[in-house]
């Protein structure tokens, strides 16, 4: 079945530095990937999404490019801020037996990002 792997469980970095959070996926069908961000004691919120190969998607300073050749959708930011401290989830939209999107999302385990000053 479909799966999403986020290799870093915890990332701690200093304000102003760049960050890259890894996300790789496994699916038989054409992928549709999402990044969600969850701040402490809040609900997850959409950060960005993409189903287009090799096209950079950006939102709120974060960006990601879907690479079907490497099954990856890494999240990056050039300069992190204290407010970027949060839990980040990569998610893959599930496709049913016929290949159509089902509306279900399969989430990775999440990466906890802590930004220090």
């Amino acid at each position: 079945g479909d799966s999403v792997t986020q290799t870093e469980g915890l990332v701690t970095l200093t304000k102003g530095l760049p960050v890259m959070l890894n996300c790789t996926y496994q699916t038989t069908y054409s992928p549709f990937l999402f990044w969600y961000v969850q701040h402490l004691n809040e609900a997850p919120k959409l950060l960005l999404k993409s189903s287009t190969d090799n096209k950079r998607t950006e939102h709120q300073g974060f960006y990601a490019t879907l690479h079907k050749s490497s099954s990856s959708f890494h999240l990056q930011k050039s300069s992190v801020q204290l407010s970027d401290s949060a839990l980040y989830f990569c998610a893959l939209s599930d496709r049913g037996a016929t290949g159509g999107l089902s509306g279900k999302l399969t989430f990775g385990e999440g990466t906890q990002v802590t930004v220090i000053s």
Binding site: G9, P44, K49, S51, S93, G103, K104, T106, G108
Partner: protein, 112 residues
Amino acid sequence: EAAVTQSPRNKVTVTGGNVTLSCRQTNSHNYMYWYRQDTGHGLRLIHYSYGAGNLQIGDVPDGYKATRTTQEDFFLLLELASPSQTSLYFCASSAGTESDYTFGSGTRLLVI
């Protein structure tokens, strides 16, 4: 403003107890979902629905029932709660298969 509202925010119950978690959305979305969030597991899908009266089984359905009474309301039922069901539960809605989710604020359940 479109929203997903969950109740209660916190719940404590004993092993073997009956629990109902409620979710109401005002987004006019057809799709609704129940996820549980546990450290080291991310968000895992319990049950979901494509519309009133429709139910679909998710990835971790054991021990849970769900009911979608209207387009707005989606309930998660734990009829014999166990400590393994202690978790943070999120309800979400979406407009369609390519749409992002709107999540509720979560229900924190403790089974003792």
